[in-house]
Structures are given as C-alpha cells and as structure tokens.
C-alpha cells in the first residue's frame, strides 16, 4: 500500500474513473444493436400500449409508465453488462485491463455508470411521452422517485447480466439474455398488468427479480399489489449480492 502511494504521487484516479465511464458509454452509444433497441423499445411499447391502444384510461397510462421504465432499465443493465463483459472476456480486453494500472473496480463502476445513464435517458424519454401524449399527471416527488427507482434498479440486473456474461461468449450472450429478459418481463407484469395473466402465472410472479422492481415503480404511482416496499428492496438486494458473488467467482476462475 505504501509503495503504491510512493509510486503514484500525482495520479488522480478520478480522471481514470471518469474516462473509463465515458469510454463505456461511448462504445454502447455507438453500438446500434444496443443503443437503438434499449432506448427505443420501451418508448415504442409505451406509445403503442400506453397511448395509441389505450382508450383514455389515466390508470393504464400511469401503470405502463412505471412498468416500461422498469422494462427499459432491466434491458439496459442486463445487455449493457452481459454482452460487453462476455465480449471483453472473450477477446482479451479484460486480460489487457489486468496488466494496466486501472484503479480498483473502475471497469465495473464505469459499466454501472453507463447503465445508469441509459436508465436516466429511458426514464426521461418515457416521462416526456407520458406527460405530453399519455396525459399522465404526477407530483414532482413522484417523478423524482420514479427516476430514483429506475436508476437504482440498474444494480440487480447489472449483476445478473454480469453473471451470464461470465458464462457464455459475446455472440451467445444476447440470445441467452433475451430468452431470460422477455419472458421475465412478461411474467412480472411489465407488459400487461398481472391481473390480465392466468392466475397461476401471476401468483408465481414474485419469483422474478423484475417483478420486484416493477412493484417498486408501481408503488410510486399507486398501482402496486400492496406488498411492503422493504420486501421488494430486500429481494432486489439479495439478487444483486448473489449474482455479483457468482459472477466474481466465475471471472476470477477464468484464468
């Protein structure tokens, strides 16, 4: 520790953290196979189901604002982490990083910041669509809470993405993640209210991490199933820790 300090008197790790985050964000933004679907799909679905097919129901417009926000954030976090980690691992970028004096955790934090930034973009885009076209009216506190739920929602799904990205190759990762992502979103009530699903499916919904994020977002707009918030937070925290630990184990065993 002392020698590390002695060798690096003038180094500012903050600049590295910032540049690392910028690089992760730029590479995802320039990747059309990521940026376009991750940002456009939640907005498109909202326009379709929350505005065009919605026959003037303020409740549905609010419900879908919350759930498509969660849907978008989950996609950004799972794909942003899963695909890039798989690619970075497969092509040797992680190896190269291990030879460089990267400040601790910089790459992971950078990917986290990248996913959080995408979460903000998705949330704000949905907010604009909801308030202008969907006629959604919320208190300032609710808008802020919804944004906070979405940004923090990055964590558990980043962990899940990281874990699957540590398992499979960069080419396989998108397919595998889609197989998980789309059914999970549907079964968690993110596309349609759970009340419209067959009863046994809606009763199984709490086994999906996406359900808990969806419920937190719905709680902000008053459309959740009424379970306490701490239960959802606990479930999401447990998922985060579990998958980070599993992923860490996989990644350090990779050599």
């Amino acid at each position: 520790m002392m020698s590390t300090l002695a060798h690096a008197p003038s180094r500012s790790p903050w600049r590295s953290y910032l540049l690392e985050a910028k690089c992760e964000f730029m590479r995802m933004l320039r990747e059309p196979a990521f940026g376009v679907p991750v940002i456009a799909f939640p907005a498109m679905f909202y326009l379709l189901f929350g505005v065009l097919l919605n026959k003037g129901s303020a409740g549905a417009a609010q419900y879908l604002l919350a759930t498509y926000g969660a849907f978008g954030v989950i996609g950004a976090a799972m794909f942003g982490f899963g695909v890039t980690i798989a690619t970075d691992r497969e092509h040797g970028y992680l190896r190269l990083k291990r030879t460089l004096a990267v400040p601790p955790g910089a790459l992971l934090l950078a990917k986290m910041a990248m996913a959080a930034l995408f979460a903000v973009i998705i949330s704000l885009l949905l907010d604009v669509l909801a308030s202008i076209l969907g006629g959604v009216v919320l208190a300032p506190r609710q808008w802020a809470l919804l944004l906070a739920v979405n940004v923090l929602g990055v964590l558990p799904f980043a962990a899940i993405g990281l874990f699957f990205g540590s398992l499979v190759s960069g080419n396989t990762a998108p397919a595998l993640l889609n197989v998980l992502y789309l059914p999970m979103a549907f079964l968690s009530g993110l596309w349609l209210p759970l009340s419209m699903l067959p009863e046994f499916l809606s009763r199984l919904a709490p086994i999906w991490p996406a359900y808990h994020l969806g419920q937190l977002a719905l709680k902000v707009v008053g459309h959740d199933q009424g379970r306490p918030a701490w239960l959802h937070l606990l479930a999401l925290a447990a998922v985060t820790v579990l998958f980070f630990v599993l992923a860490q184990r996989r990644l350090s065993a990779a050599e």
Binding site: R11, L19, R27, E31, D88, Y93, R98, T99, A101, V102
Partner: protein, 302 residues
C-alpha cells in the same frame, strides 16, 4: 558489460502446469535495464506463459517472480509495466484518442499524446475508430497503449505479427529508443530476424525449459555451420558425399550447400569446377541455430 546493468524483472525456477501439461518447468529469466531480451521458441514452448507470469495474469505453481521489486500483478508492478498481448480485444467502437487518453490516465507520468503518436506512428489515426483500422494500424495502437505510461518494463508478445516490413522497422526503431532510455524489454517472437535485429540477449525456450542463453552471436555460435552458394554444374548428389557436407540442394543454376566448415569444401569445389562462379559463404543465422538447439534438446529429452 551489458549484463551488469540492474535486473528489473526476474523469473527464478518458475513452473506452471495446465492440468497434465507442463508449460513452464523451472524456468529462469532475468530482464536487464537498457536491454532487449528475446524469448525464442516454437508454438507452445512456454513463451506466452512466461509473459503471463511476469504480468501477473498467471500464478506460478513453483518458483518466484519479481517485477520491479514488487509482486507481479500488484498495482506498483503494473504502474511500471507496459504490455502488448497477442490479442488485445480493444473495444472496436472507441476512437484511438479516447483509448490513449484512458490508458494515459492510469500512469503516474504519462507520455504526451504527441510523443505517443510519433513513437508508434499513429499520424492521422487519433480520430479513427479502433475497429476501422487495418490489422497493422491496430498493432501500432496497442504498442502506443503499451508505452504511453513510460514503462520501465515492456513485455511484447509477438508484437509485429501482421505488420508489413515498413511498420515492423518503425516499431523496432521505437523499441530501440525505449531501451536507450533504460527500459527493459522482453520480446517474444516467431521472426528470427526480429530477434537478430533487436536483441541484446536471447533465451531459447523449448518445452518450458531454457535450452540456451546468450548474445545473438553466442547463440549463433551453437551452430558452427556455414552456408555456401555458388553457380556450378556439379551434381548435388555428388557433392553430398564429400566429407564435412551436411546438405546439398540444387536451386536452378545454383547449388546450395550446408557444411561444417567452409574452407575445405570451397577448395574442393573450385578444384572440381573451374567454371564455378558467384561463390557466397555465410554464417548460419539465428534460425539455423535455433533449429539446431531445439532439435538437440529434443533428442536429449527422448
């Protein structure tokens, strides 16, 4: 003389296994300041494993690894080390300038962007995306990333694979410049002329063991053979039976002979064919020495 300069990194009795395969077997290597050390060996001889140990990417099963007085892979060791790996996996959508700024930010005293561009030959490439560069240009970017932190130890794992002659020679110039500043360079290569052009010190590795070590001249001296080439009407099959001739092959008008010593064979050639012309005699290159050394090592092992 040259070997009295300080040792910046060292492997001592280093061993590493992958399952049942022994990749490195009690391997010793010392990298001196201001010297290029070339690690020569066939595919799978253990070159990249040795590099992996120095960079802290792999752990040694036995033996010690010391990098700039620190444990390999520690932050202090990484700060003083630059590396060019065989596959870098650099994100294709990042621009060269973004990559350079990022990697320079890790260093305590980074080289200026202009210096990196000049040393690695990146003129006009800074605003290009990495994925849109040619293979040779990508290698030059990787080299720039390896040197931008002013490393005291530079590990280059087959750096010029895929480079054209001109780019290769530009890279050699840059490496010589770094060595003149007192860096220690480890070079693994398939190209023997590269080792010949750059190395102060050559280590030949075969099946994870060091089989020879010395200057290029010392390694070359392992084979005393000479190559003789001349235009002559003499039959190759005939010359092959002469004492001291190891090999004789016809190439068009010319005859190519490998001999233990040149003088008796040349004398006999001139006697046998007064019309003989375009006589050339060469010392065996590093390539011949290398083949000879690893072949002998193989026979001893068998």
């Amino acid at each position: 003389m040259a070997t009295t300069s300080p040792v910046l990194a060292r492997l001592r009795g280093a061993s590493r296994r992958y399952g049942d395969t022994v990749a490195l077997d009690g391997f010793d290597l010392a990298l001196h300041a201001g010297q290029v050390t070339s690690l020569l060996g066939a595919n799978g001889a253990g070159k990249s494993t040795a590099v992996g140990l120095l960079l802290g990417l792999l752990k040694a099963d036995a033996g010690t690894v010391d990098v700039l007085g620190h444990a390999p892979g520690s932050m202090a060791a990484r700060l003083g080390t630059g590396a060019m790996l065989q596959s870098a996996g650099i994100p294709e959508r990042l621009k060269v300038r973004e990559l350079l700024d990022l990697v320079r930010s890790y260093a305590a005293r980074p080289r200026s962007v202009a210096d990196c561009v000049a040393l690695a030959g990146l003129d006009g490439l800074l605003e290009r995306r990495y994925g849109r560069l040619s293979g040779g240009q990508q290698r030059r970017v990787q080299f720039a990333l390896a040197i931008c932190g002013r490393p005291r130890l530079l590990c280059l794992d087959e750096p010029t694979t895929g480079l054209d002659i001109e780019a290769r020679q530009a890279l050699w110039r840059a490496i010589r410049e770094l060595v003149a500043d007192g860096s220690a360079v480890l070079l693994t290569t398939h190209y023997l002329e590269e080792a010949e052009a750059l190395s102060d010190h050559v280590v030949v590795i075969d099946r994870g063991r060091r089989v020879a070590e010395g200057t290029v001249a010392q390694i070359r001296a392992h084979v005393a053979q000479r190559r003789i080439r001349c235009v002559t009407a003499l039959e190759a099959a005939h010359v092959l039976h002469w004492p001291g001739v190891r090999d004789a092959v016809r190439e068009g008008d010319a005859l190519r002979i490998v001999a233990d010593a040149a003088e008796p064979v040349v004398r006999r050639l001139l006697d046998a064919d007064p019309q003989l012309h375009e006589l050339e005699v060469q010392r065996a290159g590093l390539a011949d020495a290398f083949l000879e050394i690893t072949r002998n090592a193989g026979q001893e092992a068998a």
